[in-house]
Each structure stands twice: as structure tokens, then as C-alpha cells.
Amino acid sequence: MPLVKNGRIAIDLFVHVADGAELPGDGAVLISAARFLEDPEAILKRAGKTGVIWPNSRAVDDLVPYLDRLAAVALVFPIFRDGRAYSQARLLRERHGYDGELRATGQVLRDQFVFMSRAGFDAFEVKKDADADAFAETMKRYSVFYQPTGDGRVTALNRRMQLRHSESAGQ
């Protein structure tokens, strides 16, 4: 499954470590929320980076105390139409100020890329190779956005207001 990061196919530096398996002494790991919450401090003291896979059925509040020490948070889309992780992503980015890697996992297809990016995701474990290849092109599909989110894209309303101001300044 290809990983798209910062807009291009990238090598996944994080090693998925299953719940029972031993954690390597260093190197970046991606572990389950359950495992992480058993002893967060011990895990965060490791030499390598820590990423946590957070389920979409649990409030992100429990992860908030550790956000500044996490290198990645992976949110889950178990099926295409289960959109809970979009809310979690926006809360992490916009309310809790998380600025590490925010990864979309599960049923990730090209038709969600724009939504996911606008919600704050910057890494995507893409289901199909063809979709991963089409990432850059797909992200160019839209140039107009109605809603203000934390992604920094200027909304249609703001563009209109700017246009008005520049018109009135020119008069």
C-alpha cells in the first residue's frame, strides 16, 4: 500500500508494530492507541519517533496531553463512507494545534483526497496504486472552496470580500 506524503509517493519511515510484538529500541514506530495508552511516558522516552493509530470511535481528547511529543497520528477510515475521522482531524489540527504528521489510513481512495487534505491530513496510506499515482493531479481538481478550515486555503467568501476591497480602493 503506497504512502503519499507531502504530495508525493514516499517511503514509510514508520514501522507498524503489532500489539504483542516487541518495540525496537530506536527507529520510528506506529502503534495502536491501546498500546500507547498503557504507558505513554515509557514509549515516548524511546530514542525513535512515536506514531499512534487512533480509532475513530474514541474522542481525541485522551491523546491531547501527548500531541507535542508525537511524530505521527494515524486516523482510520474503516469504510469509505465512515467520516468520523474528518472531525477528529480538524479537532487535532485546528483546536489542539497538532502539527506533526496526520495520516489517513484504511479505505483511502482518490475521491477523498481533497476532503482529507482540507481536514488537515498530510499523509495518506492509499489503497490503490493508481490512486496514489494520481494524487498530485487529483489535488488540483478544485480551486474554489466554500468553507474555512485550518488548511489555510482562502474561501470563496474571503476572495469575494478581497475583490470588493480592491475594487473600492481602485475607485
Binding site: 474522542a59 469509505f80 463512507r81 465512515d82 467520516g83 468520523r84 474528518y86 472531525s87 477528529q88 480538524r90 483546536r95 481512495l109 475521491d111 481533497v114 476532503f115 482529507m116 482540507r118 481536514a119 493508481a130 481538481r141 478544485y142 480551486s143 474554489v144 472552496f145 466554500y146 468553507q147 474555512p148 478550515t149 488548511d151 474561501t155 470563496a156 467568501l157 476572495r159 469575494r160 470580500m161 470588493r164
Partner: protein
């Protein structure tokens, strides 16, 4: 009318390109039907019994003549020459070919029409009063807010994969013509004690197999805060709405299970945490959207022009005028409803030729504007009273002057088993038979206001729960049976109808409805007492006796 600017146009064109790519991937086999299903549903495409059905949005029920002509063209070029207006200010085409859909969408986009989010588990077309902006006594034009919400809900990055579909309706009148109490969110514009404009926010209404009337979650939310408050509701719903059972996934179930007080606390907490956000609408932003709506340059006209006095001698004209013409906020003008319920016809259908002709009449008599109401009729919202006689003649020739608006034959019906893959029973032939039974307009007039709503299955697209008389198709041992309810209503006093007794077979439905109506005529205490008020006063029992005594 709201005028799209370059940004609105760009966005719908980008959506068309995206959908064209999705269809291409489906046709090439890159996407399975299962994968494609989720994508087509976000753009109004259903797979029905015989073909794909295509549902196009008519936001807050406002159309220009140019747009209506384009819909006529779509009906002619891509379908079988007609379209079906729905109960949520959409139009459906029933025989569209998948490979041609992108072209149809592109042609619609040229006139600022789209099909975004007319199906799927997202925020659906925002609906409003079909008389918005012209009805006397409105707080203000609710379409300004409908448009702000339309933009905000379009391709929303957080709420496009909700537990279930989500519908918002807005009214600004005392008399609710937008059925806000049967919506996921109902918004009632009003002014608070300080004269500030805002909304009473209702939540958790809906029909289907578990019907609920919406409850007030907040009596007043200022206009500038409406987007953040709606977003707070949606965020709570997106996270906590049930996803384990499709029948329990609507927000009404979450509100019911938590209780409105607890649900309101959750929303308030979320709203508080959002604080003053980018969603807060500056005065200038609201005015920007308002400035994009254009209004006719009305003339100063007499209240009672000579043309109208003369035409009053014609009893047929007078019957139509009294039935289909409503007061306008500007003196000398009227709102004219065009009945899409001819005797023997399927409710809400219009042919391409009719649509073209209505567009011409709108240009001639209504400043090029047409409205679509949830009762599946159309309206011309700005007709000078002096033009009413001419307009009537033209409408009569087109079969659009049936004087049955709000009467027993003004039936709301879903497509039913004739088209729909979910239906258990037919709806349209029941409606057609009823219009024949009550074809005598004098009788219908004498009966007075009476709304019959027919749904072909429990999903309740025909809103049977809130019909004065509701008819619900069910299947019993492979045969079509119908449950009858009475006393429902969808207005500001919305309530669910009560079942009168066991379901009856297809062939007996019209007889039963006739019995109910006859019982009402015998029971009402004066001619002005509406059917629904007689039911309220007497309950179901006397009607039940009448219907089942001989069955």
C-alpha cells in the same frame, strides 16, 4: 434570483469534471459498481428499477426561466421528455443513461444548476419557502441565509460522510410552508426582543420508519453565528450518530436517545469551544451575499385593476383565481401557483414542452422567475394582477390551471413501485385514481383544504405521516396493501397522523378515502372547519367506524 459569480461557476464546473472522471473509471471497469455507488450517490444518481435516476437540485426552490428551459432540454435530450418535481425542491429524471450523465451535468452547469449532494449521506439541498421574498409579513428573505448555507454545505470537508443524509429547511414566515419541523435541522427566522435577526433552531425532525417532529434546541441564534452553530450540531452528530444500523443513523435517533436537553448541552459545549471562529459571519459578508440577489423593478399598480374586475364575471376564472392566486407583498402583484396535479396525471410531473412554455410565461409575466414548492407544484412569484386573466388562459391551455391547489386532488406522492427499487407498492396510480374520484372541482371546493400524501414504502418520500390523510404502501404476502392515517400536518403545528385501522388492499384505497371524506362532511361542525381540525376535535374513532363498519 441569486446570481452565480465566477467562483460559483468554477466550482460546479470542477465538480462536473470530477464526476466525468468517476464515470469514466466506472465504465472502464477501474471502479466496481459497489465503489462507484458511493460516488454517484454524492451526485444525485440512483440506480432504480429500470434505469439510473438523476436528481437535480433547485436550491430553495428558485429557478430562472433560462434554467427551466435547460431542464426542459435535459428532459428532451437525455430523458423521455418529462421530469418529476419532488418534495424537496429537486427535479428527477428517470431514464438517464450513465454514459451521458456527465454531458447532462455540464449543460446544467452552464446555467448554474448542479446535482451535488442530492443523495448520499451528506448535507442535502437546502430548502425554503417557495414564496420566499414575496410573501407578505416575512421577517426577511430567507433565501439569503439558504444561499449562505448552500455554499457552506457544498463539498464540506468534514461533513460529506455523515452517518446518514441530512436535510436543512428555512422559513421566515409565521405560516411554515417549508415543513421545517420534519427536517434534520429546521431554521425559523425571527427577531428577538432587541430587534436582532436570528434563528429559532429546531433539530431531529424526520419521517421514515421512525418519525419525529423536530424539537427546539435553541430559541435564538443570531444570524452571524448560524454557520458555527450548525457546524457544532453536525460535529456532534458526525461523531456520535449511530453508524451500526442504517435505520437508526439519522440525527433524530441520536436526539431521541440522548434526549434534547443532553444533546443541546453537547452542542453548546462544542459551540463554546469553537469560540469566535472563521465561521462567524461579518455584516459585510452577509451583505455581500444579499447583494447578489436581484429583485424585480415592480411597478406602482392598483390593488384592483380593471382587467381583474372584468374577468371576475367569468366563474371559471374566478374559481381558479380564488384557488391558485395568493397575496403578494407588493400591491398590484400576486403569487400564482401552477398545479402539477391534473386529473388523472402523476403528481409533480411536467413535460419538456410545459417547462418551456412556463419559462416563456415567466418571462412575460413574472420577471423571468419560477418557484418550486415541496407540494410538487410550481409558482410564478411576481405576476401583476392585471395580467392574471391572460396568464390563466395560457396556463389553462397548457393543462396547468387545475384549480385544485391545497384541495383533495393536490396530492403529494413519491414515484413508488412504478420507478423505485425501494418501494413496496405503487403510489402514482393511487393518486391518479383519487384525482378521478374527486375530479368535480365544485365538490373538491366544498371539501376544502385537504392534503393527501402517498408513500410507496416506509421511507416516506411522500411524507404520508404528515398528510391530513396519509397513505402508506406496504407488502402483504406479495400483494400491495395500504395503511391509512389521518390528522397529520407538516406546517407550524406539525404532527403525525394516526392510523385508522388495518391496511386495505390496492383496489379499495380510493373507496376508503371517499368514505373518510364523506364522514368528514357529515361530521364537520361548519363548512369552514378543515378536515384536519375535525379530526383533531373528534379523534380517529368516528372515521374508523365509518370505514370499517362495512368492511
Amino acid at each position: 434570483m441569486y446570481a452565480y459569480d465566477e467562483l460559483d461557476r468554477t466550482l460546479i464546473n470542477e465538480r462536473v469534471s470530477e464526476f466525468r472522471d468517476q464515470v469514466k473509471r466506472r465504465l472502464s471497469g477501474e471502479l466496481t459498481e459497489d465503489e462507484f455507488k458511493m460516488l454517484r450517490l454524492q451526485n444525485g444518481v440512483y440506480l432504480q428499477l429500470h434505469a439510473y435516476m438523476f436528481r437535480v437540485a433547485i436550491p430553495y426552490g428558485t429557478l430562472s426561466s433560462k434554467q427551466l428551459r435547460r431542464l426542459a432540454h435535459i428532459a428532451r435530450r437525455y430523458d423521455r421528455g418529462y421530469g418529476h418535481f419532488t418534495t424537496r425542491q429537486n427535479i428527477q429524471f428517470n431514464w438517464i443513461k450513465l454514459a451521458e450523465l456527465p454531458d447532462a451535468l455540464a449543460e446544467l452547469a452552464e446555467v448554474g444548476i448542479h446535482a451535488m449532494q442530492t443523495s448520499g449521506n451528506n448535507m442535502r439541498n437546502v430548502t425554503s419557502d417557495q414564496w420566499a421574498g414575496v410573501a407578505p409579513g416575512e421577517v426577511e428573505d430567507p433565501r439569503i441565509w439558504s444561499e449562505i448555507l448552500r455554499q457552506h454545505t457544498t463539498l464540506h470537508p468534514e461533513f460529506s460522510f455523515l452517518p446518514r443524509k441530512f436535510k436543512i429547511a428555512i422559513t421566515a414566515s409565521e405560516h411554515d410552508r417549508a415543513a421545517i419541523k420534519i427536517h434534520d435541522i429546521g431554521l425559523r427566522l425571527h427577531k428577538n426582543a432587541d430587534g436582532e435577526t436570528g434563528f429559532e433552531v429546531l433539530v431531529g425532525g424526520g419521517l421514515g420508519r421512525t418519525p419525529f417532529i423536530a424539537k427546539t434546541i435553541k430559541p435564538f441564534v443570531a444570524g452571524r453565528d448560524i454557520l458555527s452553530y450548525v457546524e457544532a450540531i453536525l460535529r456532534v452528530y458526525n461523531q456520535y450518530g449511530r453508524r451500526d444500523n442504517i435505520y437508526k443513523a439519522r440525527i433524530k435517533i441520536l436526539v431521541h436517545e440522548l434526549g434534547i436537553e443532553k444533546f443541546a448541552r453537547e452542542v453548546d459545549e462544542e459551540w463554546r469551544q469553537m469560540g469566535h471562529s472563521a465561521l462567524t459571519l461579518d455584516h459585510s459578508v452577509i451583505e455581500e451575499v444579499r447583494s447578489r440577489f436581484s429583485y424585480p423593478a415592480y411597478e406602482k399598480l392598483p390593488h384592483m385593476p380593471d382587467e381583474l374586475k372584468q374577468a371576475a364575471h367569468d366563474p371559471l376564472f374566478e374559481r381558479w383565481r380564488k384557488n391558485s392566486v395568493a397575496p403578494h407583498k407588493v400591491q398590484g402583484y400576486s403569487i400564482v401557483t401552477l398545479s402539477l396535479k391534473p386529473v388523472g396525471g402523476p403528481p409533480g410531473d411536467a413535460t419538456a414542452d410545459q417547462m418551456d412554455a412556463i419559462a416563456d410565461l415567466a418571462d412575460k409575466y413574472s420577471f423571468g422567475e419560477i418557484r418550486v414548492g415541496h407540494e410538487q407544484n410550481l409558482a410564478l412569484p411576481h405576476v401583476a394582477k392585471r395580467d392574471l386573466p391572460q396568464l390563466w388562459k395560457a396556463l389553462d391551455r397548457l393543462g396547468l390551471a387545475t384549480p385544485n391547489v391545497n384541495l383533495v386532488t393536490d396530492i403529494i406522492a413519491c414515484p413508488g413501485l412504478d420507478y423505485c427499487s425501494l418501494a413496496n407498492a405503487r403510489s402514482i396510480p393511487i393518486a391518479q385514481e383519487l384525482t378521478r374520484r374527486f375530479a368535480n372541482h365544485d365538490t373538491a371546493d366544498m371539501i376544502g383544504r385537504l392534503h393527501i400524501n402517498i408513500s410507496g414504502c416506509i421511507n416516506a418520500c411522500g411524507h404520508h405521516h404528515v398528510g391530513h390523510i396519509g397513505i402508506l404502501g406496504v407488502e402483504k404476502n406479495g400483494e400491495e396493501f395500504y395503511q391509512i392515517t389521518i390528522g397529520g400536518r407538516a406546517d407550524e403545528n406539525a404532527q403525525m397522523g394516526a392510523l385508522i385501522g388495518p391496511a386495505v388492499p390496492y383496489a379499495e384505497v380510493a373507496d376508503v378515502i371517499e368514505d373518510i371524506v364523506e364522514a368528514y362532511l357529515a361530521l364537520r361542525d361548519r363548512p369552514e372547519e378543515l378536515f384536519v381540525d375535525t379530526v383533531k376535535r373528534l379523534g380517529v374513532e368516528p372515521f374508523k367506524e365509518r370505514v370499517y363498519a362495512t368492511r
